[in-house]
Symmetry: C2
Subunit: 476 residues, 2 copies
């Protein structure tokens, strides 16, 4: 480790040390959990005061580059700080969905998949047959890596309704939002790069970034968006490749960014040349008069990659989603998509295009919103009634409730007890590490019908009471 | 660079130096194009004879770990030696396909896509509608990351006909062969790993390995398979993560491995714990009595990952293919697939399953084989007649002819002249770097009907004569 100090410089010595260590850590020269020299040894070596080293280390710690172990020393912070990445594989979009699927009498608040009974099968079948009649074998050829051009145009039109002004040339078709995240990671990340995420976040995204060797920095999420002070403080010292966020009905918290914070974020994008990846996974599902406005709508500096899947409102099995891509990274993204799978199913793209053009999809979204809002308000009512001592915000949109359990109740215990009673929930440990995760559960109501929502939440309520009681007995 | 010599050891000093340098290069401690110390300086430093260093460097060179620049020194060989990776994005499965598509009067020998007029649209439409009737919305839910179980069982049955004995649990469904390559790379490769490939090879695969930071080592391809001596020599010094090959009607050369070489390769797999990735992209298309037998059929040691796409015989736009996965890497592959796109379209999996079960696909393959063999024999006849001075092997299968041009003709010039005359070909420079690539062209006859094959190859023949003539005039 080579540190060169300029004692004639007007820059304080502790800043010089901080800057050089920061560089070494960011470049991966000092690896994860590397022990920095002791204060005294380092001060001697560099011929400076102990206090200078103390200040430099303090600054590194403030900037989430190192951590302290009491009585042991100062260490380089691992790329992933608190995220429970290893659990990503058992996250919401996961296997467990297929095991139960509403069969076997389970009430499933764990899956975020929509209820298949709500799919517009009749219209869809007709669209499929029309495409086959119209296009014949051509529909089953390889398609352009970037997507079927007419669909890209239709999506541009669809976005202009949301006041997102882009052209077909800015839109790339992908096979689902997860593939979008994977392609962005492939195109932009190399070993040791920084990525900012919300805390808590969707671990299925964080796992992808981590697999590319990225260092993940979590920005605490407040009710109206990220902690902006914390974000700017970090931006002053770290240049992340991008920040991955869900500004509308975030997963898992359900919270949405305020207009003020969206505007503030766009200012930071300009000031720090920050690239933002906006995963708009359920922005269509607002249950109040106020629609959710994507961050992309505010983007005048071409700083936002927008990912939109139809999986939550239409059919996840379609595997068609899209990206809106800033000009300067188009080539890289196209090449990464081509390497990933050459192209997305052209047939499904053609069917979706027919849908968009006839406004069948729009009608369907209205229908889904109505169905889901009934489920949402029932879930809210039931949680208030049955989950005594639980805390939650009402997101007024999306598909999840993020619930803080009463103090004495642990989400893992609750999960087990509910499962025994044929109710499935998601524990907070999938999103937050350790004890913090144990305080939360996520309830997804997309796949559960109204009577089961009431019944299921009552079962959770009973389970909470039972755990409370046995804890009291244990304490006594 | 730390080299520790044991002068008491029975192992010669030059071997000790070689082994330690090899390790440093393979671990990436010595980066690409790193200049090794001069002979004299290194000998002095290690206190050995100059000849010891010369011998160690020679061994490194033989093993493709370093290269010499005359008058300059010895350098670490870059990961990719000769492959023209930057061209991968304009490879055969690429954009240019969509630009012409048989329209505008172009005769297209560049695309390896099948002719859409041969797709079984009537049967396929019926299968689609049957699946919608039978499964309703369930067909459009998320599916298990590993694939739809009934399809995996059907594929296991289909493989037993090829004498590949595997169960549904060994089979994972993917969205096309390219995605299979991408997932394998993601699951198995990290920075600095070695991958062996055939030379020439499909650059779309090599580009994926390279993007994971792998060092690519090319094994020369002979008419009956890889140069086995070269392969074993390399295996003695390098442990690659896997070897990527196309043993049946290879792309671009069309050559197939002999039975002897397949068996030999399986012995090497056992001896060196070598993992092989077999891309069986057109093994179904043999135009003689003798079917192509996959390498996987010979695999008794669970050493072969088998990738099979239906894109060349069925419909590339289906985006359904499968992997057969050795036991010890199943978990890693499943997790990589999940991170990539959660799952492949369940709807298409269900339709393909119906196909396999009714033997409609088998009938269709027979039909495609007949159609393609007529095109193949016509292409062979026309090349013999019109391309005077060109050399080529007759692969008797697959979809490509790999043709060595007469000495004075350059493939880039030929490409330009043919394009002017509305005939598209693929230059060898997409598969081999520099002058070697300029000696070859690849003709794919999958998308061209018989009269156009004759007409198109006559045009190429005329272009060759024209170039020869202008070269002679230039020389005079």
């Amino acid at each position: 480790m080579n540190i060169n100090l300029n004692k004639q410089s007007s820059e304080p010595l502790y800043i010089q040390i901080f800057e050089q260590l920061k560089e070494l850590i960011q470049q991966g020269v000092l690896p994860e959990d590397y022990k920095l020299p002791t204060i005294r040894a380092f001060a001697n070596r560099l011929d400076v005061n102990n206090v200078t080293i103390v200040n430099a280390y303090k600054l590194l710690e403030d900037n989430k580059l190192v951590y302290k172990k009491v009585g042991s020393g100062t260490y380089v912070l691992p790329m992933v700080e608190k995220l429970n990445i290893s659990n990503a594989i058992s996250d919401d979009r996961e296997e467990q969905e297929y095991d139960y699927n509403g069969e076997d009498g389970y009430i499933d608040f764990a899956t975020a998949s929509p209820d298949p009974r709500l799919f517009p099968m009749k219209d869809f079948k007709q669209a499929i047959n029309e495409v086959i009649e119209r296009d014949g074998g051509k529909a089953f050829m390889y398609h352009d890596s970037r997507g079927y051009l007419p669909l890209r145009s239709s999506i541009a039109d669809y976005l202009s309704v949301k006041a997102i002004e882009v052209g077909a040339e800015d839109i790339y078709i992908i096979s689902g939002a997860q593939q979008g995240i994977d392609i962005i990671a492939k195109a932009l990340l190399t070993n040791g790069d920084y990525v900012f995420v919300e805390s808590p976040t969707y671990t299925g995204a964080a796992a992808v970034f981590k697999s590319r060797g990225a260092r993940i920095v979590e920005i605490p999420l407040q009710n109206d968006g990220p902690d902006m002070k914390e974000l700017e403080k970090l931006l002053q010292v770290i240049k992340p490749k991008f920040m991955y966020i869900m500004p509308s009905f975030q997963n898992p918290t359900g919270c949405s960014y305020s207009e003020r914070k969206k505007k503030h974020l766009m200012l930071l994008c300009k000031k720090y040349k920050l690239l933002v990846v906006e995963d708009d996974y359920s922005g269509d599902l607002s249950y109040t008069e106020k629609p959710a406005i994507p961050l992309k709508t505010y983007d005048k500096s071409d700083s936002v990659i927008y990912i939109k899947s139809f999986s939550k409102i239409f059919m996840p099995g379609l595997r068609v989603a899209f990206l809106v891509i800033p000009e300067n990274i188009k080539k890289t993204i196209a090449s990464a998509k081509h390497m990933t799978d050459l192209s997305t199913s052209g047939f499904m793209q053609r069917v979706l295009d027919l849908y968009l053009n006839r406004n069948i999809l729009d009608e369907h979204i209205k229908y889904m919103k109505k169905e889901y809002s009934v489920r949402y308000f029932e879930a809210v009512r039931a949680v208030k009634k049955y989950l005594r001592g639980a805390l939650f915000n009402q997101p007024n949109g999306g598909l999840n409730l993020w619930i803080k359990l009463p103090e004495s109740v642990n989400s893992s215990d609750l999960y087990e007890l509910c499962k025994k009673n044929k109710v499935l929930i998601t524990t907070g440990t999938l999103f937050l590490k350790g004890q913090e995760g144990e305080q939360y559960i996520r309830l997804s109501f997309a796949a559960v019908d109204v009577p089961d929502i009431t019944r299921g939440i009552a079962v959770i309520g009973n389970a909470i009471e039972e755990i409370k009681k046995s804890n009291r007995l244990g304490d006594a």
